[in-house]
Symmetry: C2
Subunit: 621 residues, 2 copies
Amino acid sequence: MLEDEQSSEKRKRMSCGLYTSCPASLKTALQSAFDFGFHFIITQITHPNYSRNLDGPNVPYIIGRTDRILKGNEWNRLIVGELTTSLDVESEVSHIRSNDKKILEQELGFASHLGIPAVLLHLSKPKNVQLSRIINDKLVSGFSYGVWVQIPMVHPSNYSPIAETQHDSWDWWNDFRIHCDYDKRVGLVLELPDVRHVPSVDEIERWIGEPVKALVIQASYFLINQYGKPVLSKVHQEIIKKFMTIDVQYIIHLDIEGDFSLYVKYMNFLGKKLYCCDTMAEFVQGCEDYLQNPLQPLTEHLETNVYEVFEKDQIKYDTYQKAIHDALEHWTGDHVPVVMVVGAGRGPLVQAVLNVCKLLEKEVKVYAVEKNPYAVNTLAERVKREWGSQVTLIREDMRTWQPPELADILVSELLGSFGDNELSPECLDGAQRFLRPETGISIPKQYTSFIAPLQSLKIYNEIRNSRLPDKTLKQCLETPYVVHLANYQQLADSQPLFVFDHPNYTKNGQNPDNTRFKSLRFPPAKKHCVLTGIVGFFEAVLYGEVTLSTNPRTHTPDMVSWFPIVFPLAAPVQVKEGDIIQISFWREESVDKVWYEWCLESPIKTPIMNPNGRSYHIKKH
Amino acid sequence: MLEDEQSSEKRKRMSCGLYTSCPASLKTALQSAFDFGFHFIITQITHPNYSRNLDGPNVPYIIGRTDRILKGNEWNRLIVGELTTSLDVESEVSHIRSNDKKILEQELGFASHLGIPAVLLHLSKPKNVQLSRIINDKLVSGFSYGVWVQIPMVHPSNYSPIAETQHDSWDWWNDFRIHCDYDKRVGLVLELPDVRHVPSVDEIERWIGEPVKALVIQASYFLINQYGKPVLSKVHQEIIKKFMTIDVQYIIHLDIEGDFSLYVKYMNFLGKKLYCCDTMAEFVQGCEDYLQNPLQPLTEHLETNVYEVFEKDQIKYDTYQKAIHDALEHWTGDHVPVVMVVGAGRGPLVQAVLNVCKLLEKEVKVYAVEKNPYAVNTLAERVKREWGSQVTLIREDMRTWQPPELADILVSELLGSFGDNELSPECLDGAQRFLRPETGISIPKQYTSFIAPLQSLKIYNEIRNSRLPDKTLKQCLETPYVVHLANYQQLADSQPLFVFDHPNYTKNGQNPDNTRFKSLRFPPAKKHCVLTGIVGFFEAVLYGEVTLSTNPRTHTPDMVSWFPIVFPLAAPVQVKEGDIIQISFWREESVDKVWYEWCLESPIKTPIMNPNGRSYHIKKH
């Protein structure tokens, strides 16, 4: 009836650019690139013959092609400008350095005049500090274009028989972008290596944690298949497939003549062939690296939309139903079992209990306890029309409700992305008053949070650039975010952090202690990398062998309800190969709130983040 | 070749909503509204039979329809929720006030739960202070929906034979939104009056200065034409036409049965028939009420895109060509006349001079003086390929250039939206050194800025909500903006402010004094209104009778190069009928900058805005 939701195309759109160094006519070159199916071109914007000398009174008037050959909206959408590659602004010879700097600044000024979306520069040696200064000055003074930094994915020195030093091109890039203060406008263009020199899986993962704008593919890498069409080898396809999780473009570098449209067609074909579109991929489309604030369900009523998203995850509720099924099947009491769903929302777990009753042909008394009056409105309608008197509806907070009888099974879904971060421990501790002692069962029975060190400059920049009306930048940088990570590298396997069990009876009947502390050491870093934060997951035991997990190693297949949680650091930390990352983490509590604090103990000590929960805490009321 | 620029449709898209107070099935009502062609519906979200008593222990569980009847993305796009009209939160009786407040808050909470885009409430009496407090609390605590405030465009008391007081419904609205601190989420829904009681032109103009979200049209206002189809009278069409300059929607209030699709079809027809799509309307589409910073052409090089937009205004260059034509035709010197285009950009005025030479078959020596090296790059190519040696190209600042000869005619296009605000006076004073004394001509010869008092809460909110990294809110509120005004009311005819003449020789040969001051009094206000700022225009004499104007009274037809300039006030000022608005305005200057200061002298005194140019100034270098 209403406008259809956009059907998610089961393919990756492949944006392809054509590299053409200095065509006779730019207009014609652009036209033919479009005819071949390319989306943009990369070309030099100043003519190599012009303006090589900028000193003295007779500076030439002509810098490059006239801007009138293209329309403004062609310049600013379709042209990436390659800066002259022969300039040496790092030269030890002062007048060369000075002259080349002037030419470079003229080219950057001209790029700004044309309004092109990006300039492309090459890093060809380890030291690029002058170049980074020139670029950083322009970025800070508000030039609006992107800066694409091109380097080989694998530096030739790594397989040259005569190279004395083996360079890691990632180091050149890393130094350059550090000098540019990790500006999000500075991106990477990686040259795909030839098939004999492909990088390791670890190396590729590190690249995927970087802001890669494009991959450059030499036309000569294409093989000719039995139908005479250009194709890429399996080895190259594997690399491209890995980069599909982030939004890269493809630059075809043509050094031969031919029907170039076949190259673009082939890339589009790869977009269909290699794109892995499972339930998860479909569900998360469009929310890659998007920061969400964790919910505060104890202080704010959840809304229709949120409940609706929860309820879409069939895998999660099937798993819950399995756990309820096993618990009721094993139940050996001599009365009609009482199942209380605490935090019933709009009723998916109530429905799961009723489904089990039907399957087991067992009589069960069900309570649905919910404090949100607007969700109770929905539950009331379901009791009236679907469930009948088998379900007793209670509009109360589980922590204070005085029930008329004890529960044999307490079912809840209070877990957040970090397990305990939506105060499941505090809520269930409050509810265990009315769980039958000795035999009472809580579903879930146990949950454990996990953490791992994270590199994501993308998330760091998202946080830096988020302008929240009621938070300072410093506060934003010590607040956790729920986020579907795409442009990131997990720097080690996750390790278990905090464990919570339910029910959790204490000796003296006092409230259980839900504060925690742990310090975790991760194995030595395999490569240089940048630590920008901590990523968190959870594993939960619902009942017996029935579990839920968002931890990558044990992730429940196709379950989409939770994205990871990210705890940022105040600034990126450089990690050298062999460095040990050690993280200390606290869960703290006061009368009205719960919060986390965290810090780095190695490779450097950092200030403790979020002291007293000053920037982020979960309110109890 | 490239993606086509979107062809601007020569019609206004008419978004129509259907009012249906309490249908038996919302799903069915929505379906049939869509079948008729409506885009959304307005309906009560809580059932009038439910939850009327919220005190005591047995508060009912059911508030309204269950949220599960629609999907989340139906609730949040297609439903405007009408609040119960019978509530009286202003009651003098404490328990009524208290009970009705609880019910209202429950409805507002339920609206938030459903995620609907807007709630609709009616103002039915002059005093609404309790209601505004309840709404304002919700707005400040972050409820995300809009609040649509419905009132009659003309209050019935104005034509009732028995009414003792004549109410102006604008006052009710104005009080309400003042209490809500002019929040931009609070909008107006105006009930179209019947044909016998239409408002005056002044009254309609005042409404157009308000955030009108929708017009309500009673189905009974439709006449049946000779083909049996519903149509609106000319009188109603005239009103609707006026509202088309702002983005309003139309709510059809049906109290009869019939084929409602004809109403929607007719509204779409009006969108085509009444929409006035002239050159200006086409050019400005999409930039209504969008804030732009005035250019700083003396400190920042203009870019390709900016030149391109300039050059599109054929009317402006035709007018310049006419002026140059007349000047050269009247020129009586005995040598080849020297025409210097100062600030030549990419050459449109050079081209105009050459066109005149050809028309008059006259030999002229042309200099093109331009300081932007990237524009000179373009000019050099035009000299080489189009113009030849007739044009001498000079890459210099006109204020410091040492010319080889004197100019007979100096042509420039340095005017900003306020005339002198891009430092045309300072530049031309600098260039008149090389204008031939006594006989030399400057085109333009003279320009005058104009100002008028402005009501635009839209602009006030745009400024308040603009988050600029390097400016505080206070600074944003004393900075002028160039803006195509749409949702505004000009509160009086504009009056002339500052005049500049060229050439401007002083007695002692010193630099002319370009500082100015004037205080302007406007006629008594015809109606209560809200003063939010000052709008500025200019009129220029190019040569003889040839003029350019952006002043509404004398606007050069179809000229699109300049939008008005707006100087804000720090806060909206309430103006009563009969009040005198008096504005004082300064143009000030120091060695390196020029700036304006302004203040209100009546109806209230305000602090002087932008002292020392602290928040905005035009740099000379």
